[in-house]
């Protein structure tokens, strides 16, 4: 008997004491097919501008910096402005995201835009969010060539562009959108849910920013 069978056998022996197997199988299939939502807290259940404002507030509470721009064309300028304010070299790393590519980066003279996965020399990464969660100030980034995972973790500064219309009240809504995009039961290789910049409280419980991931997280919310 394989190890797998030995373990499953023990679990079955412990479980089948009370219920028969057909009913158990049905219960499992039903739950996996229906994916019922649990209790959703009231906090995130607000609409429109109120929801965007809640997202910004929650993100700032976890020490992300947030700025709002009117249209996506304003993003390259906002990025340049951020680099200057932090005394960073005019160079950013980003993936193949179409929304980012449509922006007029050439308008920012002397700004270098490097494409592809991040390497240790990169100081600033730029990503475009799939969605965000107002309840907790969380940003959702699936992996792929559009937004490589290394861009989220390797550079010291991470800038994430978020379309205001993609801000959901709760994580469950983001999960539903993922299912629509990737198919039921399927996921991108990686989904990063990011809530603030990297931190550690491992030395005397003092929360310090910039443990191993980005030291700073800057969110640009596009209103249009």
């Amino acid at each position: 008997m394989s190890t797998r069978e030995a373990i499953l056998g023990k679990l079955r022996a412990a479980a089948s004491v009370s219920t028969d197997d057909a009913a158990r199988r049905e219960a499992v299939e039903k739950r996996l097919a229906k994916t019922p939502r649990g209790l959703i807290p009231a906090r995130g259940q607000v609409d429109g501008e109120e929801r965007v404002a809640l997202f910004c507030r929650m993100a700032e509470a976890v020490t992300a910096t947030v700025e709002r721009v009117k249209k996506s064309d304003d993003v390259p300028k906002a990025v340049t402005h951020y680099l200057r304010s932090k005394n960073l070299a005019p160079s950013v790393r980003m993936g193949d995201d179409r929304r980012l590519k449509r922006m007029d980066w050439a308008s920012q003279k002397s700004l270098e835009v490097k494409l592809g996965r991040a390497d240790p020399a990169d100081e600033v990464g730029v990503s475009h969010a799939f969605a965000a969660v107002a309840e907790t100030g969380t940003v959702a980034l699936p992996s792929g060539k559009d937004n490589p995972t290394t861009v989220n973790f390797v550079p010291d500064h991470h800038i994430i562009v978020i379309d205001a219309k993609d801000i959901a009240g709760d994580l469950e809504t983001v999960i539903s959108r993922l299912r629509r995009k990737y198919g039921r039961g399927d996921m991108p290789r990686l989904l990063n849910l990011i809530t603030g910049p990297s931190r550690s409280g491992d030395i005397e419980q003092t929360m310090l920013l910039g443990a191993h991931g980005p030291r700073a997280l800057h969110l640009i919310v596009v209103d249009e």
Partner: protein, 479 residues
């Protein structure tokens, strides 16, 4: 890791006399409690979410075999591999086989209690594979050759001066005159030292907070980002997880996430919640080529359906130890194995046997704070009592204690005799105490009076006083 739980009493005594430890624990007990309370108070639905989270795990445990099979199917469908391990040894061997096949010399590790449970680091080192812990706390204790003293804050028992000393001892390539007096500089140094390791490692090992049956996804919840670098940069990602980590759906994981971080660190969400499903896809510019999951039982299947079944709901948040007066007093190392605090006192005997877990189920005042803060509503005090009963049944507690309990039980089972004995003993003790009303010392009560005074009893027994009260109520006169 060698089980030292039978030495709990000696270790506890040493811990109480350890000034460094007491200083560190003094900070620990204030921080966690206040942060959790603030986060919980800010979410009116918190208690209902606890019940919801509990119901999800109860449902999952009832159907654990089926959800594991469903999970396995999805992992395979997404290009990953599943390795079943019945024992710690099976799991270690499975990890080593994967490392060997990958030609690995160095593995980076995200924070994982399960790899502590199977003592993976020592084993890999012996086999010529160098494990590098990348979580700041884990990195510090790896330098010290220690084990975690807390399940979410491995270096909770240390002060920053001790960390500075270790960094100076080990990072000899850095200038000796550097300033390491602040936690910021220590964190910066660890970041600088560990950065290249992620890029050099051949294999990255993480644990899992959840496994999702619906999608074959493993989830880690972290603050530092080290777990993400660990699983993104090397060619091979190994997830080591125990079988009770599975939940049915993404919605179920989301529900439990709402109570996890709040109970652990008082955050609404931890910084990085990362959902991994299989290896790199054809289009992916980064990510591992291989994705393996080691599914470990190591005694958990034997808890299912027993009086310790509910312990399998545990999500390892650490709230029970953060609120435990015994843990505050002695720290995590006194417990002598991987899991300290109330959850450890229940889990350790379940996993290694009550004969080896010694005094752990007795390391409790039964104040009940652990159960009241547990996000999964696990009846920890009840289960510690169950262990004490088993310990007594099997004759594992010390002779003096057994004799004392037996002596008391003899009288307790004979109410007439009990009343007679107490009606003689109580006035005698009361008389002996005189007008001071307390004892500084008393024969057979040295364990108590060495550290505090013993209050003297009233001159009449409870039963006598009760009878008087009832007589008075019925309009009679006091005897």
């Amino acid at each position: 890791m060698e089980i030292q739980s039978p030495q709990f009493k000696q270790k506890a005594r040493k811990a109480i006399a350890d000034e460094q430890l007491q200083r560190a624990m003094g900070k620990a007990k204030i921080g966690f409690v206040g942060k959790r309370k603030k986060a919980v108070d800010a979410l009116p639905e918190f208690d209902d979410l606890r019940s919801s989270a509990r119901a999800i795990k109860d449902h999952t445990l009832e159907h654990l075999d089926l959800y594991l099979e469903a999970y396995e199917r999805k992992v395979i469908a997404s290009g990953g591999r599943v390795h079943w391990a019945e024992t710690a040894e099976d799991a270690r061997q499975a990890v080593l086989d994967i490392c060997r096949a990958a030609g690995a010399r160095t593995v980076t590790k995200g924070k994982s209690m399960i790899t502590e449970e199977i003592a993976l680091n020592d084993f890999l080192e012996k086999e010529g594979v160098r494990p590098v812990e990348t979580d700041l706390g884990e990195y510090i204790i790896q330098l010290r050759g220690e084990h975690p003293s807390h399940i979410i804050g491995p270096a909770l028992h240390l002060n920053k001066e001790q960390v500075e000393e270790d960094f100076r001892r080990v990072h000899t390539e850095l200038p000796s005159g550097r300033d390491l007096s602040q936690p910021e500089s220590l964190l910066g140094e660890a970041r600088q030292i560990l950065r290249p390791q992620y890029f050099q490692a051949d294999v990255g090992i993480t644990g899992a907070n959840f496994l999702v049956a619906e999608t074959g996804t493993s989830i880690i919840v972290t603050n530092e980002g080290n777990g993400d670098l660990t699983q993104t940069l090397p060619r091979v990602h190994i997830v080591v997880a125990s079988i009770e980590k599975v939940v049915p759906t993404l919605e179920d994981a989301s529900q439990i996430l709402r109570v996890l971080a709040r109970s652990a660190t008082g955050q609404d969400m931890s910084v990085y919640t990362t959902l991994s499903t299989g290896p790199r896809r054809p289009d992916d510019p980064d990510g591992p080529d291989e994705y393996h999951v080691i599914l470990l039982d190591n005694g958990r299947s034997s808890m299912l359906g027993t009086e310790f079944h509910e312990m399998l709901r545990c999500i390892r948040c650490g709230a029970c130890m953060n609120h435990c007066p015994v843990y505050h007093a002695v720290g995590g190392h006194a417990y002598g194995w991987v899991y300290p605090g109330p959850m450890g006192s229940v889990l350790t005997p379940s996993l290694v046997g009550v004969d080896k877990a010694g005094h752990l189920p007795n390391a409790s005042t039964f104040c009940g704070r652990c159960e009241s803060v547990c996000p999964m509503q696990i009846p920890l005090p009840r289960m510690m009592r169950n262990w004490r009963e088993r310990e007594f049944e099997r004759g594992l507690n010390p002779a003096a204690q057994r004799f004392g309990l037996g002596f008391w039980a003899f009288f307790a089972r004979r109410p007439g005799l009990y009343r007679l004995a107490t009606s003689m003993a109580i006035p005698t003790l009361s008389g002996l105490a005189g007008r001071r009303r307390w004892f500084r010392s008393l024969p057979f009560a040295g364990g108590w009076t060495r550290h505090r005074d013993l209050p003297a009893p009233e001159s009449r027994t409870f039963m006598q006083q009760w009878r008087d009260r009832e007589t008075l109520k019925q309009g009679g006169t006091s005897a």
